[in-house]
Amino acid sequence: MPLVKQGRLTTDLFVHVAEGAELPGDGAVLVTAERFLADPEALLRRSGKLGVIWPNNRNVDDLVPYLDRLASIALVFPTFRDGRAYSQARLLRERHGYDGELRATGQILRDQFVFMTRAGFDAFEVKKDADAAAFAETMKRYSVFYQPTGDGRVTALNRRMQLRHSESASQ
Amino acid sequence: MTSPLEQKKIKITGPSVVTANRTWDGAVVYRTAQKGWSTELADSAVVSTSDDARALLAEANADDVGAVGPYIAPVELKDGGKVKPGNLREQIRAKGVTIDLQVPA
């Protein structure tokens, strides 16, 4: 599965470790929420980077105590119809100030890239190669945004107000 | 594609065809014996056993680019082998709306 990170196709350094499977001695891993919550401290002491795969029906508040020590949080889109992880992403980024990797996993198509980026995702396990290759192009599709989110893009309303301001200033 | 699980449930009680809507324009189409689609019900492959229906549907489902949402629909066979829609819904799909649209032609 191709991984797009910070806008570029990259090799995925993280290994998904299934529930119950043996944990590799070192190297970056993404573990399930159950495994993580069973003994977070032990896992965080491990030498490799640690990430958690967080299901979309679990409150992200449970992750808050560990946010500054997690290298990645993978939020899940069981199908691309299921949009719960968008709320989780915004809460993690905007309310809890998480600034590590936030990756989208599951059914990820190019048609969600803009939404996901705006919600705070910066890494994407993309289903189709063609979609991964089209990332940069897709991100250029929109130049106008109506809502403020944590991604800092200027909203249409802000642009209008600035325009008004500069118009009235130049009069 | 329809899952085999769903396909197992298929049971037909009379002559049937597979119908769908053509992807590029949405037109009503029927699966033909030549593994294609036709807008004419007369061209459709008529099946009479559940196994044949299932096979025809599986083949139709495999053509996701050609047509959308294939399903099995009942037909009536008239004397001389003429195929007629088997219920009101299919009659409306084959012949168009039942109402006077009041649109100048």
Partner: protein
Amino acid sequence: MYAYDELDRTLINERVSEFRDQVKRRLSGELTEDEFKILRLQNGVYLQLHAYMFRVAIPYGTLSSKQLRRFAHVARRYDRGYGHFTTRQNIQFNWIKLAELPDALADLAEVGIHAMQTSGNNMRNVTSDQWAGVAPGEIEDPRIWSELIRQHTTLHPEFSFLPRKFKIAITASEHDRAAIKIHDIGLRLHKNADGETGFEVLVGGGLGRTPFIAKTIKPFVHGRDVLSYIEAILRVYNQYGRRDNIYKARIKILVHELGIEKFAKEVDEEWKQMGDSELRLDHAAIEEVRSRFSYPPYEKLPHMPDELKQAAHDPLFERWRKNSVAPHKVQGYSIVTLSLKPVGGPPGDATAEQMDALADLADKYSFGEIRVGHEQNLALPHVAKRDLPALFKALDRLGLATPNVNLVTDIIACPGLDYCSLANARSIPIAQELTRRFANHDTADLIGRLHINISGCINACGHHHVGHIGILGVEKNGEEFYQITIGGRADENAQMGTLIGPAVPYAEVADVIEDIVEAYLALRDRPEELFVDTVKRLGVEPFRERVYATR
């Protein structure tokens, strides 16, 4: 009228080009139907019995003549010469080809019209009172708020994949013409003791399989906080709304399962945590949007012009005026409703010729503006009273002066089995037959206000639950049958109707409705007692007896 600026136009064009790319990928097989379905729905494209259906938004029901002409163009160029106005301020085209859709969208985009989020599990067109900005006694124009919410919820990065569709309606008048109580969120604009604008917020209304009347979640949310409060509701819904069963996925089920108090608590907690977010609207932001709504340069005109006095001798004109013309907030002007329910016609349909001609009339008599209401009728919102007689003549020639607004033949009907792939039974021919039965205008006048609503299946697109008489198509052994309810209403006293008895076959529906209406005429205690009030006073029993005694 609202004028899109460069930014709104850019966004629409960007959306069209994205959709063009999605269609291309679908036709080449890069996207499966399963993937594409969600994408096309987000742009108003359904697959119906005969073809694709294309639903286009008419935000808060306001249209310019230029936009209406463009609908006529789309109907002619890409469809079969007509369109269907729906109950949620949209227009639908029934015969669109997928391969041509991007071009149709591009043509519409040129006049600032889009189809974003007219279907799919996202925020739908934010509807409002079709008399917004012109109704006497209105507190303020609710469309400013509709537009603020429209922008905020368009391509929202968090809420474009909700558990199910989400509909908001706003009213700012005492009489609710926007049916806010059957919406996921209903907003009733009012002022608090300090004279500040805000909203009573209702949540969890909806029809369909499990109908609910919306409940008040907060009696007053300050206008500046309305976006953040809606955002809080949506965030709770996005996370906790059911996704296991599409029939239980609407917010009404979540509200019902949690109870309104618990749901309100969840929302309040989320809202508190959001704090003073960027969503707070300052005065300047609200004024920015307000400034882009323009109002016509009304003249100072007499209340009773000579033209009107003279025309009063024409009984046909008078009948139409009494039925279809309503008071305007500016002296000398009127709001004219145009019935799209001619005798024998499909309710809500308009031909390309009618649209073009109506656009011309709007230019001549209504400052180029047209409105669309949830009863599937149109309106000209600013007609000088002196022009009414001339307008009447012109409308009559177009078949748009049927004097049946709010009467028994002003039927709301969904497309039913003639078009819809989900239907059990036909709706339109039932409506057509009923309009023929009650074609005599004197009889219809005698009966008075009576709303008949018809849906072809339990999804309730024809709002049958809230019809004074509701007709619901069901299927029995492959035959079309209809359940009939009475006593429903969609206004500020919204209520679901009560079933009067077993379903009746297609051929008997019109007879049964005639029986019900005759029973009402016999039972009402005075001519002014409306059908719904008689049902309220007497219950359904006397009607049931009348209908089933001989069946």
